[in-house]
Amino acid sequence: MTGEQSTQDETMNGVLSVDELERLKRGLHDLPETMPPRAVWHRIEEQAKAEGLLSRPVARQRIKWLLGAAIAAAVVLTVLRMPGVLVPESVEQIAGDSEFPATPQSTPSNSQTLNALMVESQQLEQNLRAIPYQPRLMRASTIATISNLEDRIAAIDYQLNHPAIRMSPAEKQMYWRERVRLMDLLVTLRYAQAQRASF
């Protein structure tokens, strides 16, 4: 607002002098601001999400994680297929050969191990489903750990199920073994949490 307009308004009102008006305006400007309660943002976020106005960061992180995992897996596969490249000890042990071939061959023991890992993974999934639903109140660190584990399992599932990704039996075993390990951690964590919540 211009000074000229201000004077016009003041003259029109004929109530306050210029000095009084200035003091009033200064006083109003100096009035303190108040922060709304913290819960207000959560209400806004919930409503906006319910209306589909906001993107969910967790989902985006998951996509990023999957993409990252896909790139990492592609690099690992390329390295494993290079002749003369040393393979990780675990894969070597799984293959059961002292001289690890560039592309590991399927053997009866390999397929048995793979089947055993798949059964174990399935069993862990059942155990996870049997645990009562997670309590509403959780520590932020617990949520982050669970979310991280779920993301990593999802990334492995993506690798194992994507039709464009071809894996040797040894590589499959490596992924399944990791899946079992992560599932085991997730079940343990969820179980401990359910126990804590029951008290």
Binding site: T34, P36, W41, L53, R56, P57
Partner: protein, 203 residues
């Protein structure tokens, strides 16, 4: 100038918000929630109503930020939404009570006016806040919009859905009510000055 105009938001944040990025919206909320809430609280005087208005304002921001072209500062745009929501609320309250905006000044606010917060000059801030709170809702809104946010009478008339004369008359009557307070305040200030004035030449 209004506090809204002083708040600067990075263009990248606005772009991310336009894509529905929740973190970008949180940044905008953190920046503007205090001025929006304070204004809504001064208009409504009821914290629960002010919270609802903040929610409505920011959901509207989330809903329509993709249409924000950046021709005016973001603060002005946010303020416009908050003002519109607040005035809509005041109007709806009027409708519920079967009154018109013209009756506003006759509806004198009974009881002790609520006061919110303190400032660097607490006594004066509380006095002024209380005096402002004692005004009827629409007059309070007109005073705030005109004297703090810098809206013209024409703009206020458009927002309230009344004539410019209505806005001017509301402001004039509000000043009449606030004047005794200003007189009292200036007397207090003069008395304080006189007390604190060093006495020269004594002894």
């Amino acid at each position: 100038m209004s506090r809204f105009a002083d708040i600067q938001i990075d263009e990248g944040v606005v772009k991310r918000a336009a894509r529905g990025d929740v973190r970008a919206h949180e940044i905008i909320y953190r920046a503007f929630s205090a001025p929006v809430y304070s204004m809504c609280l001064r208009f409504t005087r009821v914290p629960a109503h002010a919270e609802d208005l903040v929610q409505e304002t920011f959901v509207e921001i989330i809903r329509s930020i993709s249409a924000f072209r950046g021709e005016a500062p973001l603060g002005s745009w946010v303020r416009r939404i908050a003002v519109t929501k607040s005035l809509m609320f005041l109007r709806s309250a009027w409708h519920k009570r079967g009154q018109s905006l013209d009756d506003d000044f006759e509806d004198t606010t009974a009881g002790r006016p609520e006061s919110h917060g303190v400032s660097s000059n607490p006594e004066h801030a509380i006095d002024l806040d209380a005096a402002l709170a004692s005004l009827p809702s629409v007059s309070r809104a007109v005073v705030w919009l005109h004297d703090v946010e810098g809206f013209t009478h024409k703009e206020i008339a458009g927002l309230v859905g009344k004539t410019e004369s209505f806005s001017k008359s509301q402001l004039s009557r509000a000043y009449q009510r606030l004047r005794p307070l200003l007189d009292e305040k200036s007397k207090k200030e003069a008395a304080e000055k006189a007390v604190n004035k060093p006495v020269l030449g004594s002894c």
